[in-house]
Chain length 395, copies 2
C-alpha cells in the first residue's frame, strides 16, 4: 500500500469481486514510508520512546490506509467501512511492539460483511484487555489477516510486492521458479531460514487452524503460491522444494568449558533470558571439556558475547570467539522424509561448488550448512542446480 | 502543536507543574500541517470522501501528537499515558465532521490522573454509541478540553498561537489591547462576529457548566485572557469590550416578494434545510410587497441563491440580488445593557470615518453594521478610537 494511486487501483480490483457477490475483510498495512516517518518523529521527541506510546503512534499508519481505501471503495459505489483494532475488537497480549492475537469480534465483522460486502481492517494492530493499543511486530499485517481468516473460517489471500514463494531467491539464482504449492511446514522452515515472503507467525496460525493461504503480487495478475497443509495428491512431490541463504548470521564459538550439562543449561538459559534466538547449536567434548558453537543474528552478537562472559566468569580457561562472516544455506522439502540420500547430494553439491562448510544442522525436512558469507551465493546456485530448482538462463 | 521541537518544549513546561503536584489532562490537536496533508490524501482517492471515513482519517493526526507528547513526558520522567477517544470514552453524536460531545468516562481519567499526574488526550475526536470515530469540527480541540474540564469540575487553560482575546484584531488596529477578562456572553458574540480565538461551542459549554476558562499563547509567558461568567466586581465595566470585523460575508437582497408570513417562513425554512446560517435579516414592506435582505458567508451564497429561486418559483416579479463585497463590523460589550447612547456613538464613529452603512442589527450586548468590504478596516479603527479600545501607536 505505497501510495494513494495504489489504493485507488486496489479499490478497482475489489469492486468487481464484491459485485459478483464475494464478501471480504481487506486487511491493510501502512503506506510506503509512513512507519519510518513516524519512527523519525518519535526519535525527535525521545531517545527511548516508551513502547506503549510507540504503538499508539505507529498504529495510526494503518488507520490512514484503511480510511483511504474505504473512501476509494465508497467513491466506486461499494459501501465499505473501515475498522481499527478497537472497532474490530482485535484483542492481543499486552506485549507492546510484539503482541500476539488473543481473540477478535467475529460477530460484528460478519454482520457488517453481510450488509456491506467489504470491511477494511487495520492490520498490525490490536488492543489489550485494558484498552491499550498494541502492534504485532514485523509481518504483523499478515498475522492479522490470517487470524481473521482463521476466526471467520475463510481463505486468506496476501498481496504484497513479492509475487509468491520461489524455489530460491530470484536475485541470487535468476532461473528460480515460483512454486504453485508449498506446505506450511516447508514455508515455516523457509521463513526461519531467511525467506521474506510470509512471516512465520502468520504461517503458524494458518497451519494450526487449517487456513487456506495464498500469496501473490499486488501489481500483476501473475499466479501466486498456495501455502497448504498437505500438497495435492496429483502433484509430484519434490525432494527439495526450496533453497535459501541467510547472510544475517554470525557464528559464536566457546572453547574449553566444563563438559557438564549444568553449564550448558546456564549458558542457554542466560541467552534466552536476554531474548536472543540461537540456532545451529553444536557441541563437541574431549577430556572432560566441551567446545560449543551456535549462530545468532548480527544484531544480537554483542549482547550474546557479554552474556556468555557473564555466565562463564566463575570458570577458567574458556575462550569466546565470533566469526562475523558466515551465512546459513538451507535446503527444505517435505519429500526429504521419505527420500534417502538427500544429505549426501547436499554435501556433494557444496563440494562441487568448492564451498567450505563450517557447521551443519538438520531437521526432518531441512538441511542447513554454515558457510563463509562470500560463498553463500555460489552455494545456493549449486544446490539449486543439484535439486533441479532453477531453469536454465542466459545469465 | 506544530513540530516535534514544540512538543518537547511543551513537555518541558508540563514536567515542573506535575512535580509540584498538579494533575492535568492535556488535550492536544494535530501538528501543523497534518490535517491538510491528510485532506490531500483523501482528495487523491475520492472526490467526495464519505464523512465517516474522513473522520477515521483525520482523527489519526491527534493520536500522533498525543503519543509523541506522552513519549516526551516519559523521557523526562513523568509516567504520562496517551488516550484516544476510545480509551477516554468520549461519546459524541453521530454527526461526522461536526459531532457534539455527549459524555465521557471521567472515572477512568481521574484514576489515571491520580496515578500518573498527566494523561494526554486526543482533542477534536469522539466515538459514537455504535463505535464509529467522529470529529468535532472547527475548534474541536478547544471543545474537547472544555468538555473534559466541565465533567472533571476543574479549570481549563487553552494555549494556541493567539495570546489571548483583544479589544480588536491587532492586525487591523495596531494599538489593540489584550483583555485581562471577558465574559462568556461577550466572547460568544465576538466569536460569532469573526474573532478566531476560541470556538463558540467551547465557550457555550464553559458558560453552561461555569468552567473557569483561560487562553494564552503557547510560545510566550505573557499573560492571557480569562473568560468568565461575570466580570470581577473590582473591574470597571467598559461599555464596549471589543470591536470585530467579519469580511467573509455577502449580502443577499430579495425585492418584491409577497408580504405574508408564509413566504418568509418558506424562505427561511428552505435555507435552514440546506444548513445555511443567515444573519442580519431585515425586511421592509410597501404596498403589500416586501423587500428582504440578509447575510450569508461567502461559501454559502451559491446554494442560498438557488434555494431562494426554488422557493420563489411559484411567485412572480421578485428579483434576487447579491452584494459580494460587504463586511460586518460589530461592537460587543456587556456594559451596553446599562449604558444608553452606545448606538448613537457607534453610528457617529462610522459617519466620522466616512463609511457607508448598508444594514444594521443589534442584540442586547452587540451592535453590528454591514459596510462595504474595503471600508471595514477604517470602520474598525474609528470604532476602536471612539470606545477607547486602542492605545496610541506610531503606526
Amino acid at each position: 500500500m505505497a501510495t494513494p494511486e495504489r489504493i485507488r487501483s486496489i479499490a478497482e480490483k475489489i469492486v468487481p469481486l464484491v459485485r459478483q457477490g464475494e464478501r471480504m475483510a481487506v486487511v491493510v498495512s501502512a503506506m510506503g514510508k509512513t512507519t519510518n516517518s513516524l519512527l523519525d518523529l518519535a526519535g525527535n521527541v525521545a531517545r527511548n520512546p516508551v513502547p506503549r506510546e510507540l504503538d499508539m503512534l505507529l498504529s495510526t499508519g494503518e488507520q490512514v490506509t484503511a480510511a483511504l481505501l474505504a473512501m476509494a471503495l465508497n467513491e466506486a459505489g461499494v459501501p465499505a467501512v473501515s475498522y481499527n483494532a478497537f472497532q474490530l475488537g482485535m484483542v492481543t497480549t499486552p506485549s507492546f511492539g510484539n503482541a500476539r492475537v488473543v481473540d477478535l469480534n467475529v460477530g460484528k465483522l460478519a454482520k457488517e460483511l453481510e450488509k456491506r460486502g467489504v470491511v477494511v481492517v487495520t492490520g498490525f494492530q490490536g488492543v489489550t484487555e485494558d484498552g491499550d493499543l498494541t502492534t504485532l511486530g514485523r509481518g504483523g499485517s499478515d498475522t492479522s489477516a490470517v487470524a481473521i481468516a482463521a476466526k471467520c473460517r475463510c481463505r486468506c489471500e496476501i498481496y504484497s510486492d513479492v509475487a509468491g514463494v520461489y524455489t530460491c531467491d530470484p536475485h541470487v539464482v535468476p532461473g528460480a521458479r515460483k512454486l504453485e504449492y508449498i506446505t506450511c511446514d516447508e514455508m515455516l522452515e523457509l521463513a526461519a531460514q531467511g525467506a521474506k515472503v510470509l512471516h512465520s507467525r502468520a504461517v503458524e496460525i494458518a497451519k494450526k487452524h487449517s487456513v487456506e493461504l495464498y500469496c501473490a503480487s499486488t501489481f500483476s495478475a501473475e499466479r501466486g503460491t498456495y501455502v497448504v497443509g498437505t500438497l495435492p495428491e496429483w502433484l509430484e512431490q519434490p525432494v527439495v522444494t526450496g533453497v535459501t541463504s541467510d547472510t544475517n548470521q554470525m557464528k559464536v564459538t566457546v572453547n574449553c568449558i566444563p563438559g557438564d550439562t549444568a553449564v550448558f543449561a546456564a549458558v542457554f538459559g542466560a541467552l534466552a533470558d536476554k531474548g536472543i534466538n540461537i540456532d545451529m547449536i553444536s557441541t563437541v567434548s574431549e577430556n572432560g571439556h566441551s567446545h560449543l558453537t551456535f549462530t545468532v543474528v548480527d544484531s544480537s552478537v554483542r549482547v550474546a558475547r557479554e552474556t556468555l562472559e557473564g555466565v562463564l566468569s566463575r570458570y577458567a580457561g574458556w575462550i569466546v570467539g565470533v566469526d562475523e562472516s558466515v551465512a546459513k544455506v538451507s535446503a527444505v522439502g517435505v519429500g526429504m522424509k521419505s527420500a534417502p540420500g538427500v544429505a549426501a547430494r547436499f554435501f556433494v553439491a557444496l563440494d562441487k561448488a568448492g564451498v567450505r562448510m563450517v557447521g551443519t544442522t538438520t531437521s526432518e525436512i531441512k538441511i542447513s550448512a554454515l558457510v563463509p558469507r562470500d560463498e553463500a551465493k555460489r552455494a545456493v546456485e549449486f544446490l539449486a542446480k543439484e535439486f533441479g530448482l532453477a531453469d536454465e538462463t542466459d545469465d
